[in-house]
Amino acid sequence: MKKISKTKEEFDQFYEEEIKGEIEELEANRNNLKKRRNKQAKITTVAALIPIVFGLIFSDYFIAFFIATFVVLIIGFSKMSKTYKSFEGVMKQRIVRKVVTFINPEFQYAPEKHIPKETFLDTRVFPKKPDKYLGDDLIWGSVYDQDQSETEEHEFSVQNATPENIKQVTSSLERSEEDLQPEESPKTDIAFSEVTAIDVWSDTDGHQQETVIFQGLFFDVDFNKDFQGTTVIAPRKNLFFDFKKLDIFHKQPKLEEIELDNVEFNERFAVKTTDEVKARYILTPGFMEKMLALTDGAKERSKERIPNQHLKIVAKTIEKIVPYFSFKDGKMYFLLNTLQDHFEFNIDKKADKESIYNYFEDINQALILVEELDLNLKLWNKA
């Protein structure tokens, strides 16, 4: 089967040819914006100090000066944030967009948008509606589907072509090419973005606290089989809630936990479904193996990005990198909780190859997902 994701070697070549020069061009812009940001920081500090000094001298009017300091700080920070956003906007438009097109020319990119909250709730993975739902860097598009029988049959026909049957082989290839005109070819739609879901709660003293329910990459992909119902797969070692309470906040149809044929899969994941047979139809033994491999690969890639810290902190972070899957009415959702910011640029540092490689990996992950799970292999009943 044709590989649709890109390799490290392909990235290296792309970086040298397309990105390196672009970063150099953008360096002048970064330095200008950095200078402007530093200037704004200095002006804000001085402007904030003046009312403080006055407040100390004229203590009767301390509150008025305190408010003035507060207003100065807000204005200063909003100016600095605007400067950063302008830097980030340029970088995303010029660098990330190029990476997106390199990975798949069919993909589109909207830096300000994200997968909607309704889709997040539709997954039924989390027991509670998040109080805050944020996100950015929406990438979406299509991957053209491959019919395994067509692809392999072509290879077989051509390999076995003889002077006697060459006419037949040629005519069959022509016929199948007619059948597979791009505009008619079935395709797998995919969309993904960075998402953060936060639960806000009050502690015993009445103070508001925030817990991050999910922070990572959220993929919404067409599944290669048609089905109705919902099947949710979450890691057994769950972080923020007890999987058994999963449908407390959700209404009918009820999700029931089932045991599958794969022992390792059962140990690592809990599966809840509205229809046991449909869950087994989706989660064939072969597909479960692929999901385990995909999960390990995604975890490994996220692990490599954890900065060098104390071993215990690293171990704790790794434990939190968990995947969730949800299958609903012909759709597959993959949520990779990385607890990391994706597609972020540092105004104080020149963008290097490693950071661009991380953006590349995040986007490439979507194609790896389609490829490893054969989601673009339409063999069965999907129109």
């Binding site: 392999e152 037949q168 199948s176 047979v277 087994r280 064939t284 072969g286 063999l379």
Partner: protein, 187 residues
């Protein structure tokens, strides 16, 4: 006296609960088998369509087509048979159909007709559903059998003549998770 009555009542209650649970388990297994039976019947019906679509173009496969037709008729006459016989017939039919689909791949005139592709997709889809139903059936049978063999339920089961149920094991001939399309080309 009250203690003895209480113990007897508890014992009777346990027997009733166990009996009901076994009955419920048996119903679940039967229900699962009925669902699978419907799919097996659907597959047999689609095979008739497949044969009528391809018959004229594959004179060389006459013997194989006759075999599949005979097996399909056997499955059709299955309504009076027990679960084991139905499963055995179905497995034989599955093996022959796979062989037939593999052979049909060698006929380009058939391969590229949309009707044939549609039928092949439908059969493969039904196969996938049968596999899913089979795994569900086996899971229910395993739960049922595990419930029966544990003490003291095994004693109650033998009193009421409850016996273990056979699972649907896949034979080598019909064993396949997803139909291996590439293997079909190697025939």
């Amino acid at each position: 006296m009250f203690i003895i009555i209480g113990v007897v009542a508890l014992f009777l209650l346990y027997i009733i609960i166990t009996y009901n649970n076994v009955k419920k388990g048996a119903v679940k297994v039967e229900q699962s088998f009925s669902n699978m039976d419907v799919l097996l019947q659907n597959r047999a019906d689609e095979i008739v369509n497949l044969i009528s679509t391809t018959k004229s173009a594959v004179e060389n496969e006459k013997e194989l087509l006759e075999e599949v037709t005979a097996l399909r008729s056997q499955v059709n006459r299955n309504s009076t048979k027990n679960v084991e016989d139905k499963l055995a017939d179905s497995q034989r039919l599955e093996g022959s159909v796979n062989t037939l689909l593999g052979r049909l791949e060698a006929y380009p005139d058939i391969k590229f007709t949309s009707q044939y592709n549609h039928l092949q997709n439908r059969i493969t889809n039904i196969e996938e559903n049968i596999q899913a139903q089979r795994r569900t059936f086996n899971a229910r049978v395993a739960d049922f059998n595990a419930y029966l063999v544990t003490f003291p339920r095994n004693i109650i089961a033998s009193i009421f003549n409850f016996s273990q149920k056979p699972s649907f094991e896949v034979t080598d001939q019909s064993k396949k998770e997803n139909p291996d399309v590439s293997a079909m080309f190697e025939e």
